[in-house]
Assembly symmetry: C2
Homo-oligomer: 300 residues x 2
């Protein structure tokens, strides 16, 4: 394990803090979304959480499938980790009926997998506009219908569907639900045990009135994810997320809002960034733990 | 003049239409924002509008300053063009008092220039977060205050301040006003003759409930600007705008909303895109005129 920062601290970023040791109570709610160390297998990510003292992991379906669901379940249980979320279900916006049935069935399987893994929620990425389709309100309505159709199965298996509003940069090609307010409009008519929302700082930090929307989300915050908005925006929009403290987001403010809304779950760090992915995984986890302890945890 | 398309038509884009000839009534409200042909001087852009039959031009302050305001006024008058807008004022978010005074004074000069040019409005780019500042609500409040402070001068010179809500991709570094709804929250307490909003399809197409916000903007739409959201997003976010028809925006729908809100002004095409800028300017204007006639004008 190294204590080298994975990402150079730019001017204006917070001062370094000491790396918190495993067992440090400030780490009690920190979860590593495994996509943050994209080069690591599930086994490596599980071992990394243990080594760095992170008690929780957010897993993705593809690396789970690589080892098999039963093996993945054993792996996280043997390591004593919680699974804070499963990424990802969703992709609801096709208008083709048979494709919609396929997506519904796949999302039911994703709920089953999340239940097996003991995850409280399945993160839903709504999906973008189908090819050649410019009817954004129509795509949004189809996403809402598809979520509603999954409610009975979510209740049956005891996993909350977590609608992830996505930054409008992704409205065309990834997520047609663009604001926390819009996600709550979809969730509120449905039972809170079955349908919640993800508050991801990257996606919602800019939203006018986000404070009021986070308060409105009380009882529905399925997951709180932290990562940074950095400028200049990296050239690949999908990999444009930064390490907390390297950009423009007021983590103290947003975290305090989430805490005030009663959220008591794990806090996932999920960073998609080519530079972070190219860095040494242990250095990345070390850096994110220090940044979390400095910028996020005091405000929970 | 050439009739070659400046930008290849991707699959799924509308069929080509014939280039409308100068005098074609369908061109009666089309304005060339001169930034769309970034390689052209003001004189070249004015001549290009005349050659292609566009009766209106949106000018930028820098190329106007290059020739001098009086010469610029003569140039557009002699050509018989309207000036649909002046870009740009704004950049309101600094907290430094002396810098705020400088910005106020510069915006007053911009209003004066717009009045001299006969433009109905001055487009306001609100500005991003100051260096190291993470207080987005604070920056937004400062922008609103600065706009209010310009109202008396706007009324005096008869030019409407046009708040441009900017896509959240620019919230950190360019425009802290992120939605049409938020722009209207700023504008509504102020006199409509002095403060309006820009509806730019690139910036607002993704906004949940944009239809209701456009309706709410009735009497306050200072400018309607069209350009496209394309994917994959070009690597430089600032140059990520596309030619209408090459992307995901439903121009028929948004244009009908703007028309239903009573907007009767010019329609500016404003495209920042490295490929468009590298193309032959006449081909760009030819293409945008055809796309406008096919995708926008029938819905006005």
């Amino acid at each position: 394990m190294t204590v080298t920062a994975a990402v150079d601290l730019p001017s204006g970023s917070p001062a370094r803090v000491e790396t918190p040791a495993p067992g440090d109570p400030r780490l009690a709610r920190l979860s590593l979304n495994q996509k943050t160390v994209d080069g690591w297998s599930l086994a490596h990510a599980v071992a990394g959480c243990v080594a760095h003292g992170l008690p929780s992991i957010g897993v993705w379906r593809e690396p789970v499938a690589e080892v098999g669901l039963a093996a993945a379940v054993r792996m996280v249980r043997d390591a004593g980790l919680r699974v804070s979320s499963v990424c990802r279900g969703g992709f609801f916006t096709t208008a083709d009926p048979s494709r919609r049935r396929e997506r519904h069935d796949d999302n039911r399987r994703a709920l089953d997998e999340a239940a097996e893994l003991g995850a409280p929620c399945l993160v839903l990425v709504p999906g973008g506009l189908p090819d050649g389709d410019r009817d954004l309100p129509g795509a949004r309505a189809r996403a809402a219908e598809a979520i509603e159709a999954l409610v009975p199965h979510a209740i049956e298996v005891g996993v909350q569907l977590a609608i992830e509003p996505m930054h409008p940069i992704f409205a065309a090609d990834r997520g047609v639900v663009s604001t926390l307010g819009q996600a709550l409009d979809v969730a509120e008519p449905l039972p809170a045990e079955a349908v919640g929302v993800v508050v991801d700082t990257f996606h919602v930090w800019w939203e006018p009135g986000v404070e009021e929307q986070i308060a409105r989300a009380a009882g529905r915050i399925a997951s709180y994810q932290v990562c940074e908005w950095i400028t200049p925006l990296p050239p690949d929009a999908l990999l444009s997320r930064g390490m907390m403290g390297d950009g423009h987001i007021d983590f103290a403010h947003l975290t305090a809002c989430v805490a005030a809304a009663g959220y008591r779950g794990d806090v996932e760090v999920e960073i998609f960034n080519a530079d972070v992915w190219a860095a040494d995984g242990d250095a990345v986890v070390d850096t994110l733990a220090r940044r979390y302890v400095e910028l996020v945890e005091p405000h929970l």
